[in-house]
Amino acid sequence: MPEPVVVAENLTRLFGDFVAVDHVSFRINAGEVVGYLGPNGSGKTTTIRMLLGLLEPSDGRATVLGYDAFLQTEEVRARAGYMSQKFAIYDDLTVWENLSFYGGVYGVTERARIEATLARVALGGHEKTLTRSLSVGWRQRLALAIALVHQPKLLFLDEPTSGVDPSARRVFWDLIYDLAGEGVTIFVTTHYMDEAEYCERVGIMREGKLLAMDTPANLKAQTLPGPVWDVFAAPLQAGLETLSVTDGVLHTGLAGNHLRIITRPKMTVRRLRAALTAAGVEVAAVERGEPTLEDVFLSLAKGD
């Protein structure tokens, strides 16, 4: 049994009458990369803030690195790294000044450590650049360097890739994997479904509730009630309306130029085609789709 690094038990946070996080329980083991997937406002950031002792839980408790997240915040903060979605960078300071400032705050003053941290996020050679003039992708890497400067064993990343272009996102995830390879435990929130696929385990949040947390493969196998189909038909809107009332179809949704549907296990291509043709919709193709976390999310979100 691996040692848990984060344990949340019935973690709850209210803002007035609004339940931001609703009795959430999970554990994260050492060295894991765990994703926290959910739309904006689903309680991801609030969860991280409670784990870092920034917010007091209204109910429940959390242990981080063996310390109580709210009562022993100093212990937690000295050992954990945090990267917020706002990228806490001073625009009027250079790359070097930003990092050596945060280093000093953590008691890291040796030049070599700062240099090594910059090198590992591939910002070496840009020490004297004012961060104001950096692109979003570079700012993101500097923000990661700031979270890493004191060599934490646990890293909280809150929407680290929001607003960053796809190639920069890929570079960033490579960095995350390098860190995980060195044994750093990573807790990362995102609303990008494709990113969640990279995680060893994914928790799915909606309206403050943790609907499920498992490996992407298990989530797909266990939460999807049946096969997933891609239906290419015209007109699309009529197809959508028809399928949503067709017996055996559980979820329907638009996915770009086609329809994405989840059905009961015994559904066949022939029955889908027949239902559509009967409603006067022209069918180009009906194919079995590879389940994604998006399907899982869709299915969980509508399943209550």
Binding site: S84, K86, I89, L93, G104, V105
Partner: protein
């Protein structure tokens, strides 16, 4: 002795101050600007009041009266007019503040002792109006006395007319009653109080706006280190400003420094506690830099008016005088004017020092507590 956390934040704050030309300009040039504006413009010394004269008499006697007005530098005879309407127009247009009417029979009635001249005053500015009024009366009386004396001498009198009572005035500390001596210590107080509080408030709120405060909170930095580290650079800046304004005040405006400079700086530190405390408090309520600016300014402005900076406290209604006791700047202005102009030591102003210290500690303490709560 400073730990690396405190050192880092102080260094960072200094880099940011030096790199932001606007903040630097606000903190170094605005005080000088205020000093020159208030040192020159906000003066209540009344000199060279423009006067329009309608001399209907035009005799040596009337000219002698006008010479008496010219001799005192309160008035400047700017217009010689030919009708009352002309005189009225000049006063309405604001070109002349005072009108003097000498009747046609002035020299004749002068002989039998019933001469009268009329003085018209523009009372819309009470400071100028009242000064002109008393100056005109004094000039008239002195002129009359002198003529009376001359006449008696000519008549063979062996004594001269001497009033039975004379008030001999002696002005201490500022014998020429130069307004700048009064205003410049006030400017120093205002800078310490207002500029530092606004700079502190915006510096802290800027961290909240950019989201860096959240990042700082999750580091091992302690509340007091963050607070002291953010404030200390502004304290140093404020003391530099004080020396700057004091130097210009002394060498340019000639404001005397009669007391101990060290005592003054130490007590300026006490005022800073209040000013920074207000700024810190504003930063805990405000969400944007503009809000922080507005909150601290709204708190400071009434205080500045009630501090005795512009208007003497003794002339205010009783209620406002009571309110002024709650304004730390009030005590500092008494202190700095006493040290600079009167050259007193701590003993003479001990009540003010105690009051200033109590307010400083109370405001700063309250702000610090509130600041901590917002962090955790």
């Amino acid at each position: 002795m400073l730990n690396s956390r405190l050192r880092s934040i102080i260094r960072k704050e200094f880099i940011q101050i030096l790199r932001d030309p606007r903040t630097l300009a606000i903190s170094l040039f605005i005080p000088i600007m205020q000093l020159f504006l208030l040192g020159y413009a906000a003066t209540s010394d009344v000199r060279n009041i423009p006067m329009a004269v309608w001399d209907q008499n035009r005799t040596p006697a009337s000219r002698a009266l006008l010479d008496a007005f010219r001799a005192a530098d309160y008035f400047r005879i700017a217009y010689d007019v030919g009708s009352e309407a002309e005189l009225r127009t000049l006063i309405e247009m604001g070109r002349a503040r005072v009108g003097l009417l000498i009747p046609a029979d002035y020299d004749l009635r002068f002989l039998d002792g019933t001469a009268q001249v009329a003085m018209v005053l523009d009372g819309s500015d009470p400071t100028v109006g009242s000064t002109a009024l008393s100056a005109a009366q004094l000039i008239g009386q002195a002129h009359a006395t002198r003529i009376l004396n001359e006449r008696m001498q000519r008549a063979g009198a062996t004594f001269s007319l001497q009033p039975p009572l004379e008030v001999r005035t002696q002005v201490w500390y500022n014998p020429d009653l130069v307004s700048a001596y009064f205003m410049i210590p006030g400017v120093i107080g205002m800078i310490l109080y207002a500029i530092t509080s606004m700079l502190t408030a915006t510096a802290i709120v800027r961290e909240r706006e950019r989201g860096t405060i959240e990042q700082l909170i999750v580091t091992p930095i302690r509340s007091w280190e963050l607070m002291v580290g953010k404030i200390l650079p502004y304290v140093i800046l404020a003391l530099l400003d004080t020396l700057e304004v004091l130097a210009i005040g002394h060498w340019w405006f000639g404001v005397p420094v009669r007391g101990s400079l060290a005592l003054l700086l130490a007590l300026s530190g006490l005022l800073l506690l209040s000013g920074l405390g207000i700024g810190l408090y504003a930063s805990t309520i405000a969400n944007t830099q503009q809000e922080a600016m507005l909150i601290s300014w709204m708190t400071l402005l009434p205080g500045i008016f009630l501090s005795g900076f512009f208007f003497p406290l003794e002339a205010m209604p009783k209620v406002l005088q009571w309110v002024s006791y709650a304004i730390p700047l009030r005590y500092y202005l008494i202190i700095i004017r006493a040290i600079l102009l009167k050259g007193v030591g701590a003993a003479a102003i001990q009540n003010e020092i105690i009051a200033l210290a109590v307010f400083g500690v109370a405001i700063m303490g309250a702000a610090a507590l509130h600041f901590r709560k917002r962090l955790d």
